[in-house]
Every structure is written in C-alpha cells, then in structure tokens.
C-alpha cells in the first residue's frame, strides 16, 4: 500500500504514464526564475531531481543543484514571483493498493483513459476537471472524496469494489457524470454528503454486492432515463433516514429490483425515502422484496408500481404543487405499513389500476387504520384488510373530499369519525363496545333472483331467459343493540338451467333474529310457448327492480337473448328494472341492460344491433354501454351477440356500498346469462341459439347488511366545583 500524488497539473491518467505521479505531495513555494536560476523564498525543501512547475504548470525542468533559496533548474525561463510547485514524479501508476491524492491548486485537467484503479481517491484542493479520454473506467477499492470545486465530466463507470466496510463517499455537491456500481462481497460504503449521479441509463447506480448506506443523505439519479438497479449478488441498501431521489421518467423503471434474491434493505435510524420526481411516467419494480422505506410521489408524472412488494408507506409530497397520479399494475399487491398519500385542494391524487375493471390491491399491514388520506380519486383498487363477514370494521378511510370512481372495495369514502361494517357472510355480529344507540344506520339488502335459462322447444320456438328480480331493501335507524346479533344473509338465486329452468329466488336477508328483513327477488323464467318473464323484485321498505323479459321467436335460425337482471333496491329508492332482450335472424341476439340500483333507472332494451345500456344509479350515472360494465351501482350493458357485462357495486351508503347494479343481459352466442356481482342484483337471463344451444341463466347477487355508526364517546360524569 502506497500513496500516489498528482503533480504537475494537466495530464493524462492512464494505465502506463508515470508523468504526473509522485510518492509525495507536491511542494508549493514562492519563487521567480531567470534563465536557469531559480530564486525561492522560505527555503523550501527542494532536492535534486524534483520537477519544478510554474503557477500555470509549465515545467521548468528538474532541480540540478542548489540550496536555501538559490537553485539551478535544467530548463528554466523567465518567470516573475509566483506560486510554483515541485515534486519527484515518475512513480508507478497507482494500483488497487494505492490511494491517490489531488491536492494541488489551482486549476488543471486530468484526462482519464482506460481501466484505472486506486484505493482511496481524494481531491482536496484546486479546481480539478476529470475529463473523458478513451474508454475510461474506475475501480475504487477504498473511499472517494471531492472538494466542491471539482469538475467530474468523465462518463466513466465507477465501480466501488471494496470487500471491507467503512468506506465513504463525499462528492460535496459535485455532479458525477458517470455511473456507480457497488460490487464488493462484504464491502460497505456510506455517503458522507449528498451524491448526484447524472448518467442517463439503466443501472446508472447498480448495487450488486455489499452494503450501500445512504447515511441520512440524498443519493440522486438525475439522468432522464436513469435507474437504480440491483444485480445478482448479496447486497443491502441501508437508508438511515436517507433519500433515494430518482429523476428518471419517460417510462423509466427508476427503482428496478431486477435481482431480488440476496437483496435486503435496512431502515436504520430515521425513515428512508425513495422519491420519484419526473414529469413523465416513472416506475417502481419492488419485485416481491420488502423495501424498508417510504415511496414518495414527488413529481407530476405518474408513479407506477409494476410488481408486488412491501414498503413502509406511500406519500405524495407533490400535492403541495399540483395534481398527480399513482398507478398499480392490475393484479399487483402493494403492501404498506401506512398510507399517507393524499391530494390537496385543487391537487387531487388519482389512484388506479392499470387496466379498467381489473383491480390491484393495496394491503395495510400491522393492524392499523388509514385515516390520514384525502382528496383522492380512486378506481379499481382493493384495499385490504377488508372483512366482509362483520368481524372487523373498515380499515381504510378516504377522507371526506375523495371520490370513489368505481370498482373499489375496502375503502370507506367517509370521514374517519364514522365506523362501518359490511356483512355479506356469517351469522352473528358482536355489538362493538363503542356502539352508539342514538347515531347508527343499518342497511339490509335481500338477494337477487337468478336468471331463467334459455329454451328452445323446437328450432322455431325459442325464448331467452327472463332476468332475475333485484333484492328488496330495508333500512333501520338508531337501533338499540348489545351483545351478539344474529343475522342471515340471503343467498343469490340460483341460475335457471338450460331448456327453460326458472331462476331461483334470492334469499331473504334478516337482521336481529328476524326482527327486520329484506326479501330476495324472484327468478326469471321461460316457457315453451314461447314466453319469458323477468323475476319480480324483492320487497322491503323499498322494492327491487323486476328482471327484464327475454326475447322470443318462432322464426327458424333466429337467436334469442335473455333479459337484464333487475337492480337491487336501496335507501334511495326502488331498483331499476332490467331491459328486454332482442331477437334477430342473424344469430345475434342482443341482451337487455341491467337495471340501476335503488333510485336508479331501468336498463335499456336491446336493439337489432346492440345490447341495451345499463340503467343509471340514483345520481344518473354509472350505467354501462352495451357490453360494458356498470359502475357505482349502474347496471351493466347487455351483450351484443355475446354475454352481457357486470353491474357495478353501489355507492349510495357512505359512497361505498349499497344496492348493486343489475347485471347485463345474457345473449345468444355464449348462451349463459351474467352472474350478478353487485349485492342484491338480479342475474340475467340465458339465451338460446341454434348452433350453441341453450344457455343457463345468471346467478343472483347475494344479500348484504351494511352497518354504520358514530362511535359513542362513552359515559361521562361531570363534576362541578364552586368556590
């Protein structure tokens, strides 16, 4: 192990030149020169053989002789009094065992060529520019530190390959134009200052082997296409409160955990953060790993999660500046210990999955409750945990300024002052300790009836199944409850079998040992005459929508389609009726649309060319176009020569649950009616087709009970004191 000092100013650092390397620091002194006579002040420790340089690093040759302040140099020239340097150059090129020092002022350039190695690299003085020569790379086996005046324009990849810990990196505000690779088994590096790497490429910073400790500092990848990546090896990223700031955009995978095997992260002291700042799409690929850091949306471009992984939290600091969005790929589960991402007034945060009607999941670990978000617009997200058996209340609160944009579950779009339960299964609910007898609502939905099966008594005598009727609804307010409450959830009516099976009647949902009920809708039916009848809606304080009538024909070759299922009743009114199917001779039966939920409208009737549109919800929205799913309690569109589409789960209770939208109508080609997904919605009727035969009806949606209350603050005793 030895030291190498750069002496003599501008030069080339390559694998062979010894011109600028010395085993000792350059000597700085004041001197003037006339011809070969060098006159110094202060009696510097010059020795024969040293090369002397002017203040602008022009060589005066070597010291030939002299002492004190009078010396003879081999070349000389005319130089006024100035700061000169001298050193014994010609030392061998540094190896991985040699630390290199750039400690001379003022300004010079080191051109870097080839595969360069050293132990520590230290720039402690001057304005030194490290420039590109030919194909430079660095392998630094120790630490790296630069003074703020350093200019690092070389694009060389710097590989830190130490195999021991305790190495440090201090770039002191200098932007590194190259990239970093950490690849030393057992090595450890910590940042002493913030570090900015501007390489614009995948793997601009790559962690292969060893531990990179951000040490509370910010590691910034400022390249437009830059990526922090992992590679095959044993590696750890320690945050200790540090930030990984990733500016890559244009669909860059800014955090690409390409090699999760052997990758760990350590939170350390404080909370670490991975922040994406781009104005275009930037992607996190956690790749099943547990990342002990917060992921922050710090830019206007969409932040995407492309794979399942675990993080500490998701935040959105960009809310202070503008609207932005976060997207999860459909099917991905992002697990977090907290979720504090929120929008702000006028700066809504859009949260969605990548494919419409194909959900992604955000899972909250640790048993907590999310109460700190607001100003969201949410689509296609399942929030978990979400108990649908009444065993636990909602854990996710959206805040009062958020919007349910449809196809979500598990989030209560209400203030966290409300507590709510959803019961779609089970038989007993335990009254919570903070139940409030004077501020509660209980919403009871009967199940939907099943759709009738398609029937063809002969080639010229066919009928599409009638849609099932929607479930009825009963609402209760300010119930006095205690202990275990017995309830029953009505099962969805069974699907009518082929050849004209009548759909089953939806089950009755009962509450408090039958003290209150909501009756299920009846099933749709078909007969050989031919005729088709939609099921009647169930009853309660509101009546479910009737199922739509299936189409019929006595014309050979024609296809018939089923009717749409009726929508469930709800607190806002009766359910919308299902639309009527349509028969044509082109073997293309079109289904009727599903009815909207309580207070909504009837589904549209099918036409010669398209399925019927779904009915809207009570807010006049949500009905699906033909073959398109409904949202927010709107009915699904009837199928056009195909099966219909799903209705949407309702939003008329706490903007979350309620009467489900009716199902779209079944059609002749696929035959089977659409099962109802919304609570209490009727199944759609099956179709019939000469070539594909008869289809079964759709199953009705199950019943449901939704409970909400403002928690009691408990008994209190007031004490009054008089003086």
């Amino acid at each position: 192990m030895a030291n190498r000092y750069w002496v003599g100013g501008t030069g080339t650092w390559n694998t062979s030149s010894t011109t600028n390397w010395s085993t000792a620091s350059g000597l700085s002194f004041t001197a003037s020169c006339t011809a070969t006579a060098l006159t110094t002040t202060g009696s510097p420790a010059l020795v024969a053989g040293m090369t002397v340089y002017s203040s602008t690093f022009v060589s005066l040759g070597t010291i030939v002789s002299g002492s004190g302040n009078n010396w003879v140099v081999s070349v000389g020239g005319t130089y006024g009094s100035q700061t000169m340097t001298a050193g014994t150059v010609g030392a061998s090129v540094p190896t991985a065992s040699d630390s290199v020092f750039f400690d001379s002022a003022p300004t010079y350039t080191v051109t870097c060529t080839g595969a360069l190695t050293c132990l520590d690299l230290t720039v402690s003085a001057g304005t030194v520019t490290f420039a590109n020569g030919t194909s430079p790379t660095f392998a630094i086996s120790g630490s790296m530190s630069l003074v703020a005046a350093t200019v690092w324009t070389t694009t060389a990849i710097i590989t830190f390959n130490a195999t021991t810990t305790g190495k440090t990196i201090a770039t002191n505000g200098v932007t590194i134009s190259g990239g970093f690779t950490f690849d030393g088994v057992g090595g450890g590096w910590s940042l002493s200052t913030a570090v900015t790497v501007s390489r614009s490429a995948a793997g601009a910073v790559t962690l292969t082997n060893g531990t990179l400790d951000l040490n509370g500092k910010t590691l910034t990848l400022s390249g437009g296409s830059s990526t922090f990546a992992t590679a095959a090896g044993t590696k750890d990223l320690t945050f200790n409160g540090g930030t990984l700031a990733l500016a890559g955009g244009s669909n860059s995978v800014i955090f690409n955990n390409a090699a999760p095997t052997g990758f760990t992260t350590t939170a350390g002291t404080g909370t670490g953060t991975i922040t994406g700042t781009a104005t275009t799409v930037h992607i996190i690929n956690g790749n099943t790993s547990t990342i002990n850091a917060v992921v922050n949306q710090g830019g206007s471009g969409q932040l995407r999660f492309s794979s399942s992984a675990t993080f500490l939290d998701i935040t959105n600091t960009y809310a202070a500046t503008g609207a932005t969005s976060i997207r999860l790929d459909s099917g991905v589960t992002t697990t977090v210990a907290g979720f504090t991402a929120a929008g702000a007034v006028g700066n809504v945060l859009t949260l969605s999955a990548s494919t419409a009607f194909s959900t992604a999941t955000i899972a909250l670990s640790g048993g907590g409750t999310v109460t700190t978000t607001d100003y969201l617009n949410v689509t296609d997200i399942n929030f978990t945990p979400f108990a649908t058996d009444g065993s636990a209340p909602y854990k996710w609160y959206s805040g009062v300024n958020s919007t349910n944009n449809g196809n979500n579950s598990g989030m209560l779009f209400a203030a966290s002052t409300l507590t709510a339960y959803l019961l779609a299964s089970g038989t007993s609910w335990t009254t919570p300790a903070n139940w409030n007898n004077s501020s509660n609502n209980i919403y009871i939905f009967g199940a939907g009836g099943g759709g009738g099966g398609g029937r063809s008594g002969s080639a010229t005598n066919k009928a599409g199944g009638g849609g099932g009727g929607g479930g009825g609804y009963t609402g209760l307010t300010n119930q006095t409850l205690s202990g275990a409450i017995t309830y029953a959830i009505g099962a969805g009516g069974t699907a009518g079998t082929t050849n004209g099976g009548t759909g089953g009647t939806g089950g009755t949902t009962s509450w408090n040992s039958g003290a209150s009920t909501a009756i299920g809708g009846t099933g749709g039916s078909t007969t050989a005459t031919p005729s088709s009848v939609g099921g009647a809606g169930g009853t309660g304080s509101q009546t479910g929508g009737a199922g739509g009538t299936g189409s019929t024909t006595t014309t050979s070759g024609s296809a018939v389609a089923g009717g749409g299922g009726g929508g469930s009743a709800g607190p806002n009114g009766t359910g919308g009726a299902g639309g009527i199917g349509f028969t044509n001779a082109a073997a293309q039966g079109n289904g009727g649309g599903g009815g909207g939920n309580g207070g909504g409208t009837a589904g549209g009737n099918a036409s010669t060319s398209a399925g019927g549109t779904g009915g809207n919800n009570s807010l006049s929205t949500g009905g699906g176009a033909a073959s398109t799913a409904g949202l927010l309690g709107g009915g699904g569109g009837g199928g056009t020569a195909a099966n219909g589409a799903n209705g949407g789960t309702g939003v008329d209770i706490s903007n979350t649950a309620g009467g489900g939208g009716g199902s779209g109508g079944g059609a002749a080609i696929s035959g089977a009616g659409r099962n109802a997904l919304g609570y209490g919605a009727g199944g759609s009727g099956g179709g019939s087709n000469t070539s594909t035969g008869n289809g079964v009806g759709g199953v009705g949606g199950t019943g449901m009970i939704f409970i909400s209350y403002t928690p009691s603050t408990g008994n209190s005793t007031n004490f009054f004191f008089w003086q």
Partner: protein, 52 residues
Amino acid sequence: MYIDFEFQTTYGKFSDALWFPEGEELPSDTEIEAMKQQRLNDWIAAITTPQE
C-alpha cells in the same frame, strides 16, 4: 469537517453535508448558509431538468 443539513421540498427531502478539508479556513455563517441554499438549488435543477 462536515456540516449536515436538510430541506423539505415538494419533491421530497434533500439531505446533504458541506465538507471542508482539514486545515481549511471555514467560510462565514452567511457564506455557509448561501452554500446550503446553492446545494438545494442545484439539486432541484438536477431533478427537474433531467440529463438525457
């Protein structure tokens, strides 16, 4: 010596340190504050105008 500092921004937290080699005379407090602000400005410029 190192002088650690950090700023909270809309892009996230920026944490850095000023490093002065041993034996170097330290700038004044005003100059140090200006250097911190310059570091922040440089960082914001780097992440808002990424290098292509």
